[in-house]
């Protein structure tokens, strides 16, 4: 049973890791202008854009899940 819990935890962690990679991929594309990169740090437009991008993505995710919940009933 402990083993089962361990497997559940690990696969949840793996899913979180994978979401973080997807989000970084999506938001980098959206927030960092195309073309050559000049500075390693995120500038004052890019940084809040990345954070907003994560939050809006998760908001949108909730919209989908609520809608699916509603359709199932």
């Amino acid at each position: 049973q402990e083993l089962q819990q361990f497997v559940v935890n690990e696969s949840q962690k793996a899913r979180i890791q994978s979401s973080i990679h997807t989000l970084t991929d999506t938001c980098f594309r959206k927030c960092i202008p195309a073309g050559a990169v000049k500075k390693g740090a995120l500038d004052k437009y890019e940084e809040p854009c990345m954070r907003n991008c994560v939050d809006r993505f998760l908001d949108a995710n909730l919209v989908v899940l609520r809608e699916l919940e509603r359709l199932r009933q």
Partner: protein
């Protein structure tokens, strides 16, 4: 050992994505060597991608904790 494997997998994924994005942006036309401009672009881009990854991780984890305190839908869904 499973955890170590997971950490490796995670690092590998980061390097893969980072290469993909930065190669796309920094090497539009691959020539017979990596120019110093391309190399600088690459190092900078790498730094930026890792910073972005950190920002996303923090924001995402903070949000999960916030949602799970509220309980309800957010709890097990992300």
């Amino acid at each position: 050992q499973i955890q170590q494997e997971a950490a490796m997998q995670n690092a590998r994924m980061l390097v893969e994505k980072l290469n993909e994005h930065c190669f796309e942006r920094c090497v539009p036309k691959p020539g017979s060597s990596l120019s110093s401009g391309e190399q600088t672009c690459f190092t900078t881009c790498m730094e930026k991608y890792m910073t972005a990854w950190n920002t996303v991780s923090k924001q995402y984890v903070a949000r999960i904790q916030q949602e799970s305190q509220k309980g309800g839908l957010g709890g097990g869904t992300f």
